[in-house]
Amino acid sequence: MLEETLPNQILAILFVAKEPLTLSELQDVYPDTSVEELRENLDQLVSEFNSFQQAVEIRQIGGGYRMTTRPNHHEDIRNYLKTKPSAKLSLAALETLAVIAYKQPVTLPEIMDIRGIKGTSTISTLLEKKLIETRGRKKVVGRPIMYGTTKEFTLHFGLNDLSELPTLEELQEVLTQ
C-alpha cells in the first residue's frame, strides 16, 4: 500500500518545503525505503504532476526539488501580491558573475583581465546578495582572494547545479550562427 501512496506523501512534503527538498531529506523521513525507490517515486510524481498541472510545477533546482508557479502567471500573482518586479542585477554584475561561474575559483585580477575593466564594486554587491563567496586565497604574489558561486546562485538562476549551464563553446556557437 505504501508504494502506491508514496508519491502523494512526497507531494505533501514538497508543498510545505521552504527549501528545495533533497533525496537525503526524504531518506530521513522514510528510512526504510531505499534511495533508488524514493528517486523513482519522486520522478514518477514530477512527471505526472507536471503533465497535468498548468499553473504549478515541480522543478529540480539548487540540488533539490521545489514546487513553484509557472512563469506565465507572474502578472496575476504580482497583481494579487501588489508587488513590483524585483530589481534585476546590472549587466556589469551579470558579466562579473558569468566570469566567476565559468572560471571559479577565480581572483579579482583574473576577472578584470577578462572583462577588460577595472572595478571592484560589483564583487561586493554579489557578495552581499550571497551569489558568490570567497574560496580562500590564491598562492600567487599578493595572495588575492578567490571567488566562487553559491547555492543561492543556482537558485537565483533556476539551475539544479552548475553543470546545467551551457558551456562556453556552446555559447560561442550561438554567436557564430
Binding site: 512563469p71 577578462i114 560561442q172
Partner: protein, 242 residues
C-alpha cells in the same frame, strides 16, 4: 550592454553610447561593420576607435585609463603592420603576436558577454515564479551591524577588565600557537555555526591566550572565514562563519 548616455548643451543634444570598457567598445565597432573578429582591419578599426575617444573628449566624458591602454595597443599593432618587415622577422612576429592576443581577448570577452546575456534571461524567468527565494535569513542579518577592529579591541579591553581577577598572570608552560587557536575557532564554528565573543573568557585564561585569540580572530577575518557582528554598539560580538 550599451547604456544610453546623453549630454546636453544649449542648442543641440548628442546621444553617445557609453561602453563599459575598451573591449566592449572595440567589439561594438567590429560588430557594427559585421567583420569577422579574426579578420579585423586594424588600421580602420584603430581610426574609428580613436575617433570615438575624440568624441568622448568633446563631450567632456572622462576617459578611463583602460581606453587609452587599448588605444596604445591598437596603434602599436597598426604601426607595426605599416613598417616594411620581412615575413618571419622578429618585428613581424611581435606584431602578429599582439594581434593574436587582442583577437583572443575579444573572443573571450564576447563569450562572457553572451554568458551574461544567458544569465539575464534565466534571472528574468526566475523572478517570475513563486515562491521566491527565501529572504528570512537576510532580514535577520539587517538588524546586525558589522563590528570593526576597534569594536574588537574595545570588547577585548572590557573583557579583560571584567575578568581581571580571574586572569592568571604567572608564567606557565602551556604555550598556544596561532595555528592551534585558529583551529580551535574553526572547530567551534563547524560545530555551532556561531558563538559569542565572551565565550573565550568564561574559563581562566592567560594573557598569552588573550593575545593569541585576538590575533586568531583578526587573521580569520582577514581570510574572510569569519564575520564579526553585533546587535548594537558595545554589545557582545558574535562570531559567524562566512
Amino acid at each position: 550592454m550599451q547604456v544610453q548616455g546623453g549630454s546636453q548643451t544649449q542648442d543641440y543634444t548628442v546621444q553617445l553610447e557609453v561602453f563599459e570598457g575598451p573591449l566592449d567598445l572595440l567589439l561594438h565597432l567590429i560588430r557594427q561593420q559585421e567583420i569577422d573578429i579574426y579578420e579585423i582591419p586594424i588600421a580602420q578599426i584603430t581610426d574609428q576607435y580613436l575617433q570615438y575617444l575624440e568624441k568622448m573628449k568633446d563631450l567632456s566624458i572622462t576617459i578611463a585609463g583602460d581606453f587609452l591602454v587599448m588605444a596604445a595597443t591598437l596603434i602599436h599593432i597598426k604601426s607595426g603592420m605599416l613598417l616594411p618587415a620581412e615575413p618571419g622577422s622578429q618585428l613581424a612576429e611581435e606584431v602578429e603576436q599582439s594581434r593574436n592576443e587582442l583577437v583572443e581577448r575579444l573572443l573571450e570577452h564576447e563569450k562572457f558577454r553572451q554568458a551574461a546575456q544567458m544569465l539575464y534571461e534565466r534571472e528574468t524567468v526566475e523572478l517570475s515564479v513563486w515562491p521566491p527565494e527565501d529572504s528570512e535569513f537576510e532580514d535577520e542579518e539587517k538588524e546586525l551591524i558589522s563590528a570593526n577592529v576597534f569594536d574588537l579591541v574595545s570588547a577585548f579591553n572590557r573583557m579583560v577588565e571584567r575578568y581581571k581577577d580571574q586572569i592568571v598572570l604567572e608564567i606557565q608552560h602551556e604555550a598556544v600557537s596561532l595555528e592551534e587557536k585558529i583551529g580551535e575557532i574553526r572547530r567551534l564554528l563547524s560545530v555551532q555555526g556561531e558563538f559569542l565573543f565572551s565565550l573565550f573568557f568564561q574559563k581562566k585564561i592567560s594573557r598569552l591566550h588573550i593575545a593569541v585569540t585576538f590575533f586568531a580572530l583578526l587573521e580569520l577575518t582577514r581570510l574572510q572565514e569569519i564575520r564579526l557582528v553585533q546587535k548594537d554598539l558595545f554589545e557582545d560580538i558574535r562570531i559567524l562563519a562566512c
